[in-house]
């Protein structure tokens, strides 16, 4: 196979994909870096030349920066906790033999197929609407005052919506992990006198450790960038402005491309710090 001709043919065949992917990544990255050092106000005089690190300083010192970082982290951590905990429980439930298992599994996975924009709209209008939403009806049925979810409890609402979207993903990965557990191990633990709860803690949970780290890693990367859910529901109001939403506002609402680009570079750095940190944990976990 590895003759000279086949190798150069392989290079030739792969070239378009490599060039496309590189371009796809490098062009926006370099443009972001380029703009982040310039004063660029499209509606107020266009590109006005170099400013050095001005944009970077302004982005960080803005009163909106630290709350946005905090909001981002709260959403990421909140969604991770909910999806992992419920994911483990759901995976164990779905692992039990039951009637209609196949259909139930597909139903559980279904939310993952719904586009973020659509699911956020469905939640906003059908569940959380303070007048017509299902929750409002439920509250009224019990004689309680309906909650205006997206203004009074904006953060929990967003976390709930995003968790609903990502729970299927966590469940799916944890389910396959749980299915690979040797049932003799649980039987051995049972013979050794471990009650169900201890079997879970000493056998099932360690077995799931690797799958849980993978779920956390992948979800974190995607959750750092959630945007549609916030755009559709609160528009960044009521303390739901994340870092990615702040960048969007700087670029499109304030029409300050330079400032937004500097924010984008911060986001890249933050995401990489998290990624390196997580990769090391995963690497350690995958070792044994």
């Amino acid at each position: 196979m590895a003759t000279k001709a086949s190798r150069s043919a392989a290079r030739l065949m792969m070239a378009p994909a490599v060039v496309l992917l590189l371009g796809w990544m490098l062009v926006p990255l370099i443009m972001t870096l380029w703009f982040s050092f310039r004063t660029y106000l499209p509606l107020r005089g266009g590109d006005q030349g170099w400013t050095g690190f001005d944009n970077y300083v302004r982005f960080v010192t803005s009163s909106a920066f630290w709350p946005a970082v905090q909001t981002t982290l709260i959403i990421v951590v909140g969604v991770l906790i909910i999806t992992v905990v419920l994911g483990v429980l759901l995976a164990m439930l779905l692992d039990q033999p039951m009637w209609g298992q196949g259909v139930v599994r597909i139903l559980v996975i279904a939310p993952f197929f719904v586009m973020p924009t659509v699911s956020a709209l469905v939640w906003k209008n059908m569940f959380m609407d303070p007048v017509n939403g299902l929750f409002a009806h439920l509250w009224r049925f019990f004689g309680a005052e309906p909650i205006s979810w997206l203004s009074d409890a904006a953060m929990p609402s967003i976390i709930m919506i995003v968790s609903w979207q990502w729970l299927p993903f966590a469940t799916l990965i944890l389910l396959t992990a749980i299915q690979s557990l040797d049932s003799e191990q649980l039987e051995a633990a049972e013979m050794d006198g471990a009650p169900k709860l201890k079997q879970f803690y000493y056998i099932i949970l360690p077995h799931l450790g690797r799958a849980i780290t993978i779920v956390i890693l992948i979800q974190t990367i995607f959750l750092l960038a959630i945007f549609a859910e916030i755009f559709v529901t609160t528009g960044g109001a009521f303390g739901t402005r994340t870092l990615s939403y702040l960048i969007f506002q700087r670029v499109l609402e304030s029409q300050n491309v330079g400032l937004g680009s500097a924010g984008g570079v911060y986001a890249i750095i933050l995401a990489n710090i998290v990624a390196i940190f997580l990769m090391r944990i995963v690497g350690k976990n995958l070792d044994n």
Partner: protein, 334 residues
């Protein structure tokens, strides 16, 4: 103490009864082997005793008290699984200590027992390794260690040696037998390998399709098999069965003669046949002989240096005192 009694025990999976009513007593301190072809219900029977499966009807008594409804942990039995079922994320030390920790024993006593078990099983140097870093035989010993620290009233082994290579299997067989002599605890051992059964057991229980065919000591089973199934299952190579006029001359439907009870001669004998395949083991030669009426091929054990070739004509003479007679139902005729 570790006397186990099964009284009219049955087990059904749905409509299929895998174990018809069965009675069996395993005496304290006995090494009992359940042996039979795969799918004969021997592992199911072990799991019923362990409590990992619920029995459908009947009773199980351990040391004279009814244990039918007890959960596995309360029966005082320890089990060694075919896959060893070690906990992969725990060190050997933690694996062995696990049942003691579950029993909320104090740490000093746990340490003492783990060290004790490790020295009995030659695991002292491996206590801080994980199961993934051990060889098959070592994992097997860890699984046994996890069983012995509990000081159970009986050990249950579910085909523990089937994942080991042949040389290791012989070694572990000895170690388990030694362990039994040392601990003097009841052991129930499930295997499909009649060699393991013969070499280790005080008492062999031969099972077929959930039914006990015969219970007895290894030599009892070898000398006086109750029926054709046991006769064919115990002993290696298996017994030759002869039907037709030859059997009728002994007033039987079938007669059986073991390969080691036939004499081979190149000059004269009772039967005449031609040599097929000769398996030379060095110490012995197993010769498969064709052309003996009512039994084809007939297997014969001869000396290691017997000079026969494929296609030679040989004469065979059975030892008349070692002929087993069976009736049309396959039962032994005295």
């Amino acid at each position: 103490m570790g006397q186990i009694q099964l009284k009219q025990v049955t087990k059904s999976f749905g409509d299929v009864q895998v174990i018809p009513p069965l009675d069996l007593t395993i005496e304290d301190g006995e090494f009992t082997v359940f042996v039979g072809p795969s799918g004969c219900g021997k592992s199911t029977l072990l799991r019923l005793i362990a409590g990992l499966e619920d029995i459908t009807t009947g009773h199980i008594e351990i040391d004279g008290t009814d244990a039918t409804a007890l959960v596995p942990a309360k029966r005082g039995l320890a089990m060694v699984f075919q896959s060893y079922a070690l906990y992969p994320h725990m060190t050997v030390r933690k694996n062995i200590a696990f049942p003691l920790r579950m029993a909320k024993m104090d740490q000093a006593e746990i340490d003492k027992r783990v060290e004790g078990a490790a020295s009995v099983l030659n695991l002292t140097d491996y206590l801080d390794r994980r199961p993934g870093q051990l060889s098959g035989g070592q994992r097997q010993r860890v699984a046994i260690g996890r069983a012995i620290v509990r000081e159970p009233s009986a050990f249950l082994f579910d085909e523990p040696l089937s994942n080991l290579d042949a040389a290791l299997r012989v070694g572990m067989r000895m170690e388990i037998s030694e362990l039994h002599k040392k601990l003097d605890t009841t052991m129930i051992y499930v295997t499909h390998d009649q060699v393991e059964a013969m070499t280790m057991a005080d008492k062999i229980v031969v099972l077929q399709a959930g039914v006990i065919e015969q219970v007895g000591s290894p030599l009892e089973l070898y000398r006086n098999p109750r029926n054709i199934f046991v006769a064919g299952f115990i002993g290696s190579p298996r017994m030759n069965f002869i039907e037709g006029p030859e059997a009728a001359s002994h007033n039987a439907h079938t007669i059986g003669i073991r390969p080691e009870h036939i004499e081979v001669s190149t000059t004269a004998g009772h039967w005449e046949g031609t040599v097929g395949v000769a398996e030379r083991l060095g110490s012995d030669t197993f010769i498969h002989i064709h052309g003996v009426p009512g039994c084809d091929p007939m297997t014969v054990r001869a000396g290691g240096d017997v000079a026969v070739k494929h296609g030679d004509t040989v004469y065979l003479t059975p030892d008349a005192t070692q002929i087993h007679k069976f009736d049309a139902e396959g039962l032994r005729i005295a």
